[in-house]
Amino acid sequence: MTTGPMRTGVTPLLLVGGLAVAALAAFAASLAIGPSGFGLSGAGDAAGLIFWEIRVPRAVLGALVGAALGLSGAALQGYLRNPLAEPGLVGISGGAALGAVLAIHLGLSQAFALALPLGGLIGAAIAMLAVVALAGAHGGPVTLILAGLAVSGIATALTWLALNLSRNPFASVEIVFWLMGSLADRSLTQVWLAAPPILAGLAVLLFLGRALDALTLGEDAARSLGIDVARTRLALVAGTALAVGAATSVTGAIGFVGLLVPHVLRPIVGHRPSLLLPASALAGAIFLLVADIGLRLASPWTDLRIGVLTALIGAPFFVWLVLKTRAELAP
């Protein structure tokens, strides 16, 4: 990436540095704020227990999942050259949720704890491949969204089917978890399960910057600049499956983060895909942490799931984006 200042006068270092600081601040705030507001309740032992076993897992997962969603959204948009792409809309989160549900209800995660993130991973990978197959590498924005809807619809229906078949009396509560996401009452167990694959996925995706920059000029020009597009595609699938698959398996499907964050940051990073990647990871973490803090503070008055909140913010934004794209496409 070029190191000179961008139009806004902000250098890449300053931007990423600033976002990193903000992310740490959000993380600290998440540790410090609970259902009764600022600070830790309970005395001595209880306070320690609450901090390490409740607050820390929630903050860590909020940061990791937010980063995974933001980064995978930026990577998908960069590769597909399509500003409407993001793991929720494109059906990847839905596939991951289905994979996780199957891992649980087929008893696999009882036998082998890692089966849970693995299920999410496989589900995400299959969904991704299905979408790419349906929309094609050269599909326009509309084709992509349609393919995403199809995959998402199938994944949701199969998830419902799986829950129904398992005679689970809480099937309807459970599907709300999978479809709307939740960071509540997560424990360190989930952190140990999900953090390694998420971090691995983040690393793989962050290395795509150079390739995504070259792809700005189209696939042929990128190849002639020395980019292995097939390997880029593979890395994208692997990275997204790891990051989004594992994240969804412990928090359910949270949508719109991967759509909003890259889009807001894009003008600030001078539209460069490579710089957008680390920026989106950090901003995604900030966004999810702040949203979760907001939910916790509002908890006596509302029962909102985190996915509902991101949808309330993200869906109108998506509508605006669709209208804007349509206007640009229209003759």
Partner: protein, 257 residues
């Protein structure tokens, strides 16, 4: 570096596009590839760039089959300028031209002095230095075309393959571009250009290859290739090849029945 095609056979979507095509482009020369729409010019350029693998025959770069070249050295040696002027994101002009330096920058490296120099030189050559901070979507078609050529120039390639680089440019910029391409060739590079404008080809190119029905119908100096006979076979037109003030001009007259 010499780039050549030997007996290329390429099929696309079931249709045979190149049927045993031979071509040679020497360093120090500006070589034109001409032919009617659908003759296979773009496919030929892509095979020479190593982007499409032929079914039979070979494309050779500096004597070696292009399929055997490693990706990185190939990217440093050869620059390809596609016909579609795609720039998907609203980068600044400078950022687009800087993409041409990717083959020289391993992962994570910032811009070096050499990179900056190459970028500035490329911008200057294409008369785009004053556009450096403008976002690409704000440019006119012609400005955009020049910026993309600058990207290819920034790659500092030994071989430049350009697919219709002058399409849509105004006359002044067409002439400037071709002057620059000719200068590049004179400096020892191999420049291969696919184009439609027969006059430009006649004026600037040392060698012209006329592609017809997947083969090279004629190759050589402009007057030989642009004969009435060849033009009639390849394009189905009658034309006048003439010199005006020392500059060769090809004027299409009429479509043959």
């Amino acid at each position: 570096m010499r780039i050549e095609a030997r007996g290329l056979r390429v099929s696309l979507k079931g249709r045979e596009v190149l049927r045993g095509l031979d071509l040679a482009a020497e360093p120090g020369r500006l070589t034109a590839i001409i032919g009617r729409n659908g003759a296979g010019k773009t496919t030929l350029i892509k095979v020479l760039a190593g982007l499409v693998a032929p079914r039979a025959g070979a494309a050779l770069l500096d004597g070696a089959d292009i399929g055997t070249w490693q990706r990185e050295p190939l990217a440093r040696a050869l620059a390809y300028l596609p016909q579609e002027r795609l720039v998907h994101w609203a980068l600044t002009v400078r950022a687009v031209v800087a993409l041409g330096r990717l083959p020289y920058r391993p992962f994570g490296a910032g811009e070096s002095e050499a990179d900056r120099a190459a970028i500035d030189a490329a911008l200057a050559a294409m008369d785009a230095a004053h556009l450096a901070d403008r976002p690409v979507p704000e440019l006119s078609g012609g400005e955009r075309a020049r910026v993309l050529v600058a990207r290819a120039l920034a790659q500092e390639p030994r071989v430049l393959l350009a697919d219709e680089p002058a399409a849509g440019l105004d006359p002044a910029h067409q002439l400037t571009l071709f002057h620059h391409l000719a200068a590049l060739a004179a400096a020892g590079r191999t420049v291969v250009v696919a184009l439609h404008d027969l006059s430009l080809a006649a004026r600037f190119c040392h060698t012209i290859a006329l592609v017809h029905e997947g083969r090279t119908l004629a190759a050589g100096a402009p007057p030989e290739v642009l004969s009435a006979e060849h033009l009639a076979s390849a394009y189905g037109i009658t034309a006048r090849y003439q010199s005006i003030e020392g500059v060769p001009v090809v004027l299409p007259l009429d479509v043959l029945p």
